[in-house]
């Protein structure tokens, strides 16, 4: 029984901790600037990254 109590408490408190610290969620703002700036630094101008985004049909049926 003690094992169950410990496991339950660990899981619930772990969930609270991860949720309250937003661990695993994408970061907007500074984190995003840093990530994208690094990406852009590693790419030369004229390479693939600078091709403006054009979407397309993205259905799973068409497999695109």
């Amino acid at each position: 029984m003690l094992k169950s109590v410990v496991i339950t408490i660990l899981l619930i408190s772990g969930s609270f901790m991860l949720t309250s610290r937003y661990i695993g969620y994408a970061g907007a703002g500074k984190e995003y600037f840093k990530k994208v700036t690094q990406e852009r630094k590693s790419l030369r101008s004229g390479s693939g990254y600078y091709v403006p985004y054009r979407g397309g049909s993205g259905s799973f049926r068409s497999g695109k």
């Binding site: 029984m1 094992k3 169950s4 109590v5 496991i7 339950t8 899981l11 619930i12 772990g14 969930s15 991860l18 949720t19 937003y22 695993g24 969620y25 994408a26 970061g27 907007a28 703002g29 500074k30 984190e31 995003y32 600037f33 994208v36 700036t37 852009r40 630094k41 101008s45 990254y49 600078y50 403006p52 985004y53 054009r54 979407g55 397309g56 049909s57 993205g58 259905s59 049926r61 068409s62």
Partner: protein
């Protein structure tokens, strides 16, 4: 060779030709399984006559298989004890096999006799013990109606009867049972009591019973060797049951937090109140062929809290313009007002400046936007092996954590294979509460609960099955 051995050999002969019986099998259609199954039979090696589970010969031949676990029991012959303040001694035992089953499906009837000659039957089946004693009903009619037995005003359907075949008889029984002997049984409940009617060729026996725990049996018959094992088993099962209750508690808490989080989003107000259409369905040539591009700037709007989780939902508003057998993709950029002011030199309201800025937005060494989301909407139809299908995906949502509060703009780029009303793509931003880890915890706790439930029923230190 003793008399018993001679009897055994005699029993394994074919009644038709006197040839030896051997184990065999045959294939037959099973209505429950709805397919052909292979069933065991006793077969005469001389005349090839088959004896299936509706014959005594079958049980004589297969008795060993059906009694292989006969020593796995709390009872034994000669055991003396006190049940309901009456001294009893176990004098015999019968093991029955359910005739409907090919696999082993047995129960034991232990016959106990009191000092005043009253018989008591202790029935042991699947780890459960029931104590039965002879019962004389106020009224019983087994013959008048073909479809049911009338027992003290209660109708017991005859279709509920099943046949038991004796596969083991030992001890000093009050009658001489034969291996394979058939007994038609009816088990039923009336007024909270269990009753059994057993009908054989010679007689009808009615017994009334109640459940006994293994603990009661161990105490009644003073079986010292099982006392501690029984107590340990019960303790462990109780502990596992309490453990499973904690898991349920954790599951309920996880679910409550998830539901609360799911329904407690606070929308950021006015995100689409103000907009500037910079480009409206401009034709563009690219790998997809001719596509239409639109650019819209929404805002400013206020995001009041920093370091919080936000949810963005972008969707097609079908009431403005439906998406019908076509696709549309979007690029959603969340831009801080200060950064936009810096890059435009304060000319934030000048469409020409804005257009120039957004033309080069991907070529900037540092991103202008605080966050970027891309996605597609589509509506398609077709035919496959299941026939016609029509499917669509008209919304997209995602979560992100925004560190800085303040005034923000949303720059939206839309691409489509047909010219579309730019107002048909709408979005909302909400302050959200995460719950994914609670959902994960819920499922982990559910699995653990299932395991501890199974263990709380199956844990056993005793050398025999115990279901309580």
């Amino acid at each position: 060779m003793g008399t018993e051995d001679k009897k055994e050999l005699k029993a394994l002969k074919c009644p038709r030709c006197g040839g030896d019986l051997a184990r065999g099998s045959r294939s037959q259609y099973d209505e429950d399984e709805e397919e052909d199954v292979t069933i065991p039979v006793a077969r005469c090696i001389q005349c090839n006559t088959e004896y299936d589970r509706h014959t005594s010969e079958y049980y004589e031949l297969f008795a060993d298989d059906l009694t292989i676990d006969k020593d796995s029991t709390v009872f034994k012959l000669g055991l003396k004890g006190k049940l309901k303040d009456k001294e009893y001694e176990i004098i015999g035992r019968l093991r029955y096999q359910d005739e409907d089953e090919y696999e082993k499906s047995t129960w034991d009837e232990w016959v106990a006799v009191s000092e005043d000659g009253v018989y008591h039957y202790l029935v042991e089946e699947d780890g459960r013990i029931d104590s039965y004693e002879e019962y004389v009903p106020e009224s019983i009619d087994m013959e008048t109606n073909g479809s049911y037995i009338e027992f003290e005003g209660k109708k017991i359907p005859k279709s509920e009867g099943y046949t038991g075949r004796i596969v083991l008889a030992e001890g000093e029984l009050p009658w001489k049972p034969e291996i394979g002997e058939a007994t038609l049984c009816y088990d039923f409940k009336k007024d909270g009591n269990h009753y059994t009617i057993e009908k054989s060729d010679e007689e009808v026996s009615i017994t009334k019973g109640e459940k006994l725990t293994h603990g009661e049996v161990i105490e009644a018959f003073q079986i010292e060797q099982y006392r501690d094992l029984y107590s340990n088993t019960l303790k462990k099962r109780k502990s596992l049951k309490w453990g499973s209750r904690f898991y349920i508690g954790g599951m309920v808490l996880s679910l409550m937090v998830s539901v609360y989080s799911c329904f407690s989003e606070t929308p950021v107000q006015g995100v689409m109140n103000s907009k500037k259409i910079l480009v409206d369905n401009s034709p563009v040539n690219d790998a997809e062929g001719n596509v239409y591009e639109s650019q819209i700037l929404y805002g400013p709007f206020d995001i009041p809290e920093g370091n919080k989780l936000y949810n963005v939902e972008v969707k097609i508003d079908q009431s403005i313009q439906p998406l019908n057998l076509e696709w549309q993709s979007f690029r959603f950029l969340l831009i801080n007002e200060n950064r936009l002011n810096d890059i435009t030199g304060g000319k934030i309201t000048d469409p020409a400046v804005l257009k120039d800025v957004f033309e080069d937005i991907d070529a900037m060494p540092e991103p202008l936007e605080s966050y970027l989301i891309t996605g597609d909407f589509w509506d398609e139809e077709g035919r496959d092996s299941d026939g016609y299908w029509h499917e669509s995906d008209l919304s997209y949502n995602t979560d992100f954590v925004l560190d800085d509060p303040g005034k923000y703009y949303t720059y939206m780029e839309l691409f489509s294979n047909n010219a579309k009303d730019v107002n048909s793509v709408v979005f909302s931003i909400s302050r959200a509460h995460g719950y994914r880890y609670f959902i994960i915890s819920f499922f982990i706790l559910f699995v653990l609960w299932g395991i501890s439930q199974i263990r709380s029923r199956s844990y056993n230190e005793l050398p025999f099955e115990m279901s309580e």
